[in-house]
């Protein structure tokens, strides 16, 4: 048995021998009581000697093959380096010319490798690379970082602002349903964001009490957008989302869905869908050509604000703003005491009406605003905007797999939690993975036909 150092005797008898702890597993040690060694009765050397002689207190069925070392000795020693004297050098036998690692496993692999043809080697290499990439990108955070990086996936360019805690605070009590809505909505956005590497900023809207004395509740949107731009310096677009929204298709990335082909998805001529009857374009003998053009300057890069319209005009439940000087100016000008003083009785939707007012009167706003068809980012459930029945421009349709649903106005007489729950379940149902589909759409159906029983698999 190779030892790194020789066992040394210890006063009082016995040996301190670190390599020889072979009394560990499953053996009987009758001598333990009779000899008190340094190990508190577990006499290592003594028991080893007894064992090697085959003398045991209870000789009935204990075999030689007990304990870790004894069982695995051969395997361990086989994997150790051995010295091999090459046979052709018998003239200098005392000289060890070369030594090598000689594990039989390795040898075997080498043998297999030698027998495989080159073509197959290349194929296997490619397969290994694919497997490696899979492990690297899907099982490690590398894929996530890839999607975030601005010059690769570009996820860092997008920040989602979620207005949470609406109606919370001291004045209004939040019931279990409100908490559940908030929990589900936040979890939904979290999942979406972590999938695509975006950033999520959850805003506590209960701070709106701060603005109450300036009569500017609900303009805190402006401040939170500004703060988010400051907090995420790489963000290019901010996506504002109300609490009562649900991302139905988390597999859509914003880049694919909208921004890679911005000019194709947005429309700048409000006449395409104009529920407010805003006369467009502006006419004025003092205006420049781009301001009097229906599509502004027509350059998709000059779009700084993208919002959907519902049946009653602009909808700020889900909209995008881009980081730019233009946006700074808009956020600055959005709330103005003189405008508010004259209009606050008419402006039922506060900041939304103020924006409509700005859009209507100011050419510099029009030039940089674009609209998205509502169902692109803001589908309504059947309960909202339903005075004229269902409208394919407005209402959610599961066959078309709409991206986001916004349960706008559900707090006035509709069941917010019920809608949220239904849409959540629907989203899960629509986005089942192939295995779940196989189980539920095939096996369960067959089972039902055979036995007449519905099963949940």
């Amino acid at each position: 048995m190779p030892l790194s150092r020789s066992p040394s005797p210890i006063p009082g008898g016995g040996w301190s021998s670190p390599g020889l702890n072979i009394n560990s597993s499953g053996q009987s040690s009758p001598a333990a009581a009779s000899f008190s060694g340094p190990n508190g009765g577990n006499v290592t050397w003594e028991s080893a000697r007894l064992k090697s002689q085959g003398v045991s207190g209870y000789p009935s069925f204990s075999t030689q093959n007990q304990g870790f070392f004894t069982r695995h000795m051969r395997r361990i020693s086989r994997s150790l380096p051995t010295f091999q004297v090459s046979p052709d050098q018998y003239g200098e036998k005392e000289k060890l010319v070369r030594s090598k690692w000689n594990a039989p496993m390795l040898d075997r692999i080498r043998g297999i490798a030698a027998r495989i043809g080159r073509k197959w080697k290349i194929r296997m290499l490619i397969a290994a690379i694919i497997l490696f990439c899979y492990l690297l990108f899907w099982l490690t955070p590398l894929g996530y970082h890839y999607r975030r990086t601005t010059w690769l996936g570009g996820g860092q360019k997008f920040v989602i602002i979620l207005a949470a805690n609406v109606g919370g605070g001291v004045m209004e009590w939040k019931g279990a349903r409100e908490w559940a809505i908030e929990r589900d909505s936040v979890r939904n956005k979290r999942k979406y964001v972590s999938r695509w590497g975006y950033d999520l900023e959850i805003i506590d809207m209960s701070t709106k009490k701060r603005y109450a004395h300036e009569w500017r509740e609900s303009w805190e949107k402006v401040d939170s957008i500004r703060n988010s731009f400051r907090k995420y310096p790489k963000a290019e677009w901010v996506w504002w989302l109300d609490l009562n929204t649900f991302v139905m298709e988390p597999s859509y990335s914003l880049q694919d869905h909208i921004f890679n082909n911005l000019e194709k998805h947005v429309y700048r001529d409000i006449n395409e869908y104009n529920p407010l009857n805003i006369s467009h374009p502006l006419k004025g003998n003092y205006l420049d050509e781009a301001s009097q053009n229906v599509t502004g300057d027509g350059d998709p890069n000059s779009v700084n604000l993208i919002l959907p319209q519902d049946c009653s005009g602009f909808n700020l439940g889900s909209f995008f703003v881009r980081r730019s000087d233009w946006t700074d100016r808009l956020l600055d000008i959005w709330w103005d005491p003189v405008a508010y003083e004259q209009k606050h009785m008419e402006w039922e939707h506060k900041e939304q009406d103020a924006l409509e007012q700005l859009y209507t009167t100011q050419p510099w706003i029009r030039k940089h605003t674009a609209f998205l068809p509502q169902r692109k980012i803001n589908s309504f459930p059947n309960g909202a905007c339903s005075d004229n029945g269902m409208d394919p421009r407005i209402h959610y349709n599961q066959n078309d797999r709409d991206f986001v649903v916004n349960m706008a106005g559900c707090e006035w007489g509709r069941d917010c939690w019920g809608e949220m729950y239904n849409f959540r379940e629907l989203s899960y149902y629509l986005n089942r993975n192939p295995w779940e589909r196989f189980k539920e759409d095939l096996i369960a159906v067959i089972w039902f036909k055979l036995t007449g029983q519905k099963v949940k698999l």
Binding site: V97, W151, G284, Y286, D288, N301, R329, V338, Q342, P363
Partner: protein, 312 residues
């Protein structure tokens, strides 16, 4: 006792020694090739993904003409003689330095019933549409005359160095005690709006705007119908005081310069005209006072500016 010498190194080395390292079994140039291929793939990814970063393109302003002088004339308040005089004064000055003029009638613009003095804002916007490549737009009220044609506005007022030395920092925007003050750290190149204060407040009779997106934003904001319908006592001047105090994106582009730089008064509530100032204004004409009085005042300056321009 004699020990044998240690055995010498073998003189016939084993015929096929394995190579020292396994890595060199791969051909070196193949490794090189792989490295180059990898780097070029990364470069391509960078090229195609980085190339798509979208920035709204800043329109390039060539600076021809360097300055456009804008005046909106209210024909009803003053006589035609006075107006002809003022127009030729501006045209002569523009001709001297290669500027353009945009001299219009205030009635040209649809103001929805708000006072005619608002016309200066759409007039400026109109000039911007007409001369998109001009660098500066100088609004000069009708009740004023250019007295010193040798001074070029873009150097004398608007050059960054001059602006930095001339602008009044940390000054209450509306005298005497507005808590909103002009910026104390502002670079000359960042200034897009230059105006003056007289004893009563901001003076909107003579101001200079740098062409660009900001100018459009500023003029449109100023011209907001909600400001026009608000019945500010001094119409557009008080609206200007309002937006300057409430909106930092405007305040941060604004520089207030000493009044005589572009806005010397012939008399009244402000710094009075001295020899060699670029401009003289007749505030007596403002706010519907007697037009004949105004023309009397202007007549005193008529021979002086014509002499300065070498016309008489």
């Amino acid at each position: 006792m004699h020990f044998a010498y240690p055995p010498r190194k073998s003189s016939n080395p084993p015929p096929f020694l394995p190579r020292s390292s396994r890595i060199s079994t791969l051909r070196r140039n193949r490794i090189k090739f792989a490295a180059i291929a990898g780097l070029s793939i990364i470069f391509l990814i960078w090229l195609f993904s980085g190339g798509k970063t979208k920035h709204s393109p800043q329109r390039i302003i060539t600076g021809t003409p360097p300055v456009v002088i804008v005046t909106a004339f209210e024909e009803k308040t003053v006589g035609s003689e006075f107006i002809r005089n003022a127009k030729s004064n501006r045209r002569e000055y523009a001709k001297m330095h290669g500027y353009k003029t945009h001299l219009v009638s205030a009635g040209d613009y649809d103001l929805n019933g708000s006072p005619l003095s608002w016309a200066k804002v759409p007039a400026m916007r109109h000039a911007m549409a007409k001369y998109p490549n001009a660098r500066f737009f100088w609004y000069l009220d009708q009740n004023s005359l250019i007295m010193n044609p040798s001074l070029k506005v873009e150097d004398y007022v608007m050059s960054a160095r001059k602006l930095e030395s001339n602008m009044i920092k940390d000054l209450p925007v509306v005298p005497p005690d507005s808590i909103i003050k002009t910026f104390s750290h502002l670079k000359g190149d960042d200034v897009s709006f230059v105006l003056t204060q007289d004893k009563e407040g901001l003076s909107s009779g003579s101001f200079i705007i740098r062409n660009g997106d900001w100018a459009e934003f500023f003029l449109d904001t100023w011209f907001d119908p909600l400001y026009r319908s608000y019945n500010f006592q001094k119409a557009e001047t008080h609206a200007l005081e309002h937006i300057v105090q409430w909106h930092p994106t405007i305040l941060s582009k604004l520089a207030i310069v000493p009044q005589r730089l572009i806005n010397a008064y012939s008399k009244g509530q402000g710094d009075l005209y001295k020899e060699d100032d670029i401009v003289v204004r007749f505030p007596g004409c403002l706010f519907g006072s007697n037009p004949s009085e105004c023309e009397e005042e202007a007549k005193k300056f008529l021979p002086r500016w014509q002499k300065a321009f070498g016309l008489s």
